[in-house]
């Protein structure tokens, strides 16, 4: 398969076929809810929908999100080649109804109709030492993006200081504010440190981790587990109907901060946690 077609297939998989780690996590959450509750009913519908979307090759959710690409390419390659292939694939994927047209010009309010626009799809390029290319895509829905938020510590309303205890407080606050609006149960990507932009960037890229994958830093891993446990006591539940699972997982990462700033960026991924990856080497493509 050539580059263009393999990217189109990557998009199709991302929009229609949820990754096994997410499906497994949702299945466990389903079993965990009591019979006869609306929460259990929601999970049943979610799981049925996942199967139907996969069988029919149609979008799991009609909001097929913003297209965010992350590319690691070998030395000597040119970025333009990937950009052109991605744009072609986005247009084709829209024609095939794998994607809804989701690129709107904020000045004219016109929808381009084909998912192309200034910075759409958004592409992060990174050159690496390997002789293969890795292309990862995330479909980030609008509803879940709207509940993402950023705090600067200290945050007096919660008495949240500039330490991990403060980080924990603002994350719990963000989940309470989100309620079911981001299509709970969500997954949280958290970036600690950096500036306004890089804290969000770090929070987003966490979504390429697998459910259950803990940060290699022991202290952060402990914080992830602690927060997951805390937020699932809030009884917000799937869709905010009340229930035992509010969040599927919490992925935290940290980076250097300026001495005067302490940002905590929180990105929320809906239950339809759509991200896929492909590696291309000598014309051979492997998807994950």
């Amino acid at each position: 398969m050539d580059l263009k077609d393999s990217i189109l297939e990557l998009i199709r998989r991302a929009a229609t076929d949820l990754s096994p780690d997410v499906v497994e996590s949702l299945s466990k959450a389903h079993e965990n809810e009591d019979e006869g509750t609306p929460a259990r009913g929601v999970f049943r519908t979610i799981l049925e929908n996942i199967n139907m979307a996969k069988d029919q090759s149609t979008p799991i959710c009609q909001d097929t999100g913003s297209l965010l690409f992350y590319i690691d390419f070998p030395k000597g390659d040119i970025e333009k080649k990937y950009k052109e292939a991605i744009e072609w694939a986005a247009v084709e994927a829209t024609k095939k109804q794998y994607l809804r047209p989701n690129a709107v010009d904020p000045v004219s309010s016109k929808n381009s109709g084909n998912n192309l626009g200034e910075n759409a799809p958004y592409i992060h390029f990174h050159q690496w030492d390997k002789d293969e290319v890795r292309i990862r895509v995330m479909l980030k829905g609008g509803g879940s993006e709207n509940v993402g938020t950023q705090y600067k510590l200290p945050y007096p309303p919660l008495k949240a200081g500039r330490d991990l205890a403060g980080v924990r407080k603002v994350i719990i606050d963000a989940v309470v504010n989100a309620q079911g609006l981001g299509c709970a149960p969500g997954t949280l990507g958290i970036g600690i440190g950096g500036d306004r932009v890089t804290s969000y960037a770090l929070s987003k890229v966490q979504f390429f981790r697998k459910i259950g994958e803990r940060n290699s830093d022991h202290e952060i891993a402990k914080l992830e587990e602690e927060i997951l446990d805390s937020v699932n006591k809030l009884q917000i539940g799937p869709m905010g109907f009340g229930g035992k699972t509010t969040v599927l997982d919490v992925f935290i990462s940290s980076q250097a901060r300026h001495p005067a700033t302490f940002f905590v960026a929180i990105s929320y991924m809906c239950w339809a946690f759509r991200r896929k990856s492909m590696v291309m080497k000598n014309g051979e493509v492997n998807y994950d």
Partner: protein, 191 residues
């Protein structure tokens, strides 16, 4: 699971209570931001017959048109309803609507409107795009497609066994309010 056929009477809608699981069948209409703005600012009559004792669905579908020009729904889950809060109560009363399907719930003004005019808020499962599209059996009409674009147009559709949960009833009860208040209280204990 309660089965309800559209059109729905005032009496039938008043019987529903929060937490009830309902399966809806009949003709409903999709409407999002542009459509709600229009219904308040211009009160158009073209949509009146379809909305009477029917249901509004907050949805921007993925649609397909075949060679004969026939439309069908490919993926069609609910969108966030909160954006229609400024308009919803007035739209419900103006057009004699019996229900609103969406996600995330709505606020106090809508709750008041539901009570006054006899309607409920049905919550669909956000993200269940393919499953809900499968319950859309036919696209009867589409209005404002050119002007608003496909996600924002009024799609008049026939649904069969569309699964929803009543999260705001016509008696002023709201699951969203209860869950929010409870989670805030738990948060205080956690912090």
């Amino acid at each position: 699971m309660t089965k309800l056929n559209i059109p729905i009477s005032d009496e039938e809608i008043r019987k529903l209570k929060v937490g009830d699981e309902v399966s809806l069948s009949g003709t409903i209409v999709t409407a999002r931001d542009e459509a709600h703005k229009l219904m308040i600012e211009e009160k158009p009559d073209f949509i009146r017959e379809y909305l009477k004792e029917s249901v509004i669905y907050h949805c921007g579908p993925v649609v397909k048109q075949d060679e004969n020009g026939e439309w069908s729904f490919v993926s069609a889950g609910p969108t966030t309803s909160a954006r229609e809060e400024p308009y919803q109560a007035d739209v419900v009363c103006e057009y004699n609507v019996r229900g609103v399907i969406g996600k995330g719930g709505m606020g106090a003004k809508t709750a008041e409107g539901l009570k006054k005019c006899g309607a409920v808020y049905f919550h669909a499962v956000g993200g269940a795009g393919t499953l809900i599209a499968n319950s859309v059996k036919k696209v009867r009409e589409v209005f404002k497609l050119e002007e608003f674009g496909s996600p924002e147009a009024f799609w008049v559709i026939e649904v069969e066994d569309f699964p929803v949960v009543v999260t705001m009833d016509s008696h002023g009860n709201s699951i969203h309010k209860t869950v929010l208040e409870r989670s805030k209280k738990i948060m205080e204990e956690l912090l």
